[in-house]
Symmetry: none
DNA sequence: ACTCACGGGACAGCCCGTTCTT
DNA sequence: AAGAACGGGCTGTCCCGTGAGT
């Protein structure tokens, strides 16, 4: 890799926890300087503003989180099993980037007043949902989930329950809410599985 | 009411949306000055630091949100019905304070690096859970919910699902995720209700 | 004493150490409020500005210091003995107001840019010198000091040596420089005493 | 010299009179900005706080004062003569930095509540005393001062008398107290000189 | 490709002083 | 006589961003 891109990548890696933990307003370029060991000039060569940096950092964090979660799901398994593994991994794995789920953090952070960041969040949530929908649809074609189930609803349910529980977990500093979320999703899935699949 | 307390209350009311929307770091005392019409001297008479103001504002927001949600549940009804109304209200009602759920916002905002705010969040989440648990327990004594159901789990499930869906709703600017959450909770409750209650 | 004057006096007493230790700019009205237990309104009833307060406080401190030092000199003694006792007392006694000699402190503090305070300092130094000159003159008429000695010079010498040594003492936190000053003054006096007096 | 160091030096030069005249609390960073023509950003690049600036400024002032006073004493002369010249120069020369002796000013200013500044003062006073002691000791080995004289005492006497007189001079705006101090020191030295040296 | 140097503005908080009320 | 409430300005510090220099 070229020297420049290497530096750029290293900035993203080191800045990711900062922005994820402190938010856009709570993280200063000085913090990034300290974390990267670069001076102002060095940073602004790669990103033309704090906002652009934040956006790229968010993209990096989201991709990383997505990749890690997908890696946890072994290929070649049935969709219904993949979903179960995905949830299990969400429940037990530490967050891909220190500071909790970057999607939720950025969603709250950018909710009012940072349209550029919000757009990234929105797009990523959309693709996350699509990914979950595909899984559910595959589970339907594989005969494990009833065909009359609203896949949009199921995708939303999985994401909402997990994210909500993650927030609670971080507040309480216990994994219990996540465990409870897993149980709830099992209950929900029990009601949508085909008889053959139980 | 005494003059001072009146002013103090008005500060809390006007600052609540600001902190809820922009977060602690994203909201300056200048913003609060503008929103309240007071000068620095006037503000600092009532709160001795930005942090103290933020804490009081958060308390105000949380109490307000709690009160509004509880008011939506008519007294004298069965617990199982009250829970259903509570969820319905959560889904359809606009947030008590502009900017979404203060609990989630503050949870994310204070997660890393603001222990004082975090403590308020923690305490409030705890009492919220307790309130939900009581409802579920009442539903058990009223014979609507099976007695072997883990109330802790049910309380967590309700909160997590609703909060997660609310976050998604705010990202997408649609109420759909909340509607989906309501449906999921109905599915979950279907599995815990006594036969008599269905 | 009337209630008002009592309060006024109490303000002076409590504020004296503050101004003496921190200087005019370094001591805020808030500090005075804390020290006196009064609110803004209470203070400004007795003094119409911080500057006026500082002036009155300085006057109070200077008078107090003067009085205490004079009390140390027993009446009815010969002037040459009084001078000796005066010096001894200056060397061993703790400062009348915490923070060192108010005259020196105020002199340095008001040297540039505070004419009103400076005027008080100037006047007090003048009367201090006059007091010392009178003592020396009495010692001359009493036949203990040569009549051709420049009293102005001797007064200046006493004050300068003591004040300079006091400054050094406060820097080093030792009484040694003051002891040395005493010895120097003994040497000086040895050279101006009449033969009969030795 | 490098650009940065040049600026830094210029800041010290221009800020020295300000701090020396107004004291730490009485001199604002705004004053320094005005005096240097730099903006906030420019200043804080060279000094990370007002306190650090004040310390460096004090060091600069003290070194400057010391250097100027030492330059006034021609090398190659006898110590007894050097001391005499030193005193003479102290009496007639204007202060090296506008506002009077930086040592005394900083001593009073930092006496209560600024330990960092105080430490600089202390150290400098110590080295000043050592310098004077060396001179006196050389005068002893050169046979001009009696060998049984306490050099510590003599060093303290010189410094105390001069500093005390300088303070008085600044209050009265006359050089008379300094002249008187010179005379006193002559009297003191007369008593410690060897017979051969008179 | 990166550091050094700097500008100019914003931020939290403190300051002195006034007015209204009790 | 004194406290409560408030104004408006200033202070030290941090901030983001630019441009010269290496």
């Amino acid at each position: 890799m070229a020297k420049g891109l290497e530096t750029r990548q290293s900035i993203l890696e080191r800045a990711a926890p900062l922005f994820n933990q402190r938010g856009f307003a709570g993280c200063s370029m000085g913090d990034v300087m300290e974390a990267t060991g670069l001076e102002k000039g060095g940073l602004y060569r790669h990103f033309e503003s704090k906002e652009e940096l934040a956006i790229e950092v968010l993209r990096y964090s989201l991709e990383r989180a997505t990749r890690i979660r997908l890696e946890a799901v072994p290929e070649g398994t049935r969709a219904i099993e993949a979903i179960s593994r995905y949830i299990e991994h969400f429940v037990v794995a530490p967050s891909a980037v220190p500071g909790g789920c970057p999607l939720m953090n950025a969603a709250i952070d950018s909710d009012d007043g940072n349209p550029a960041l919000r757009a990234v969040v929105r797009k990523h949530l959309c693709s996350w949902k699509k990914r979950m929908r595909s899984l559910v649809e595959r589970a339907q074609t594989e005969g494990d989930v009833k065909t009359d189930v609203d896949v949009e609803w199921l995708a939303d349910t999985i994401i909402a329950t997990l994210e909500g529980a993650l927030m609670m977990s971080r507040v309480e500093r216990t994994r219990q809410p996540l465990r409870h979320a897993q149980r709830s999703l099992e209950v929900v899935f029990a009601s949508v599985k085909t008889e053959r699949s139980r």
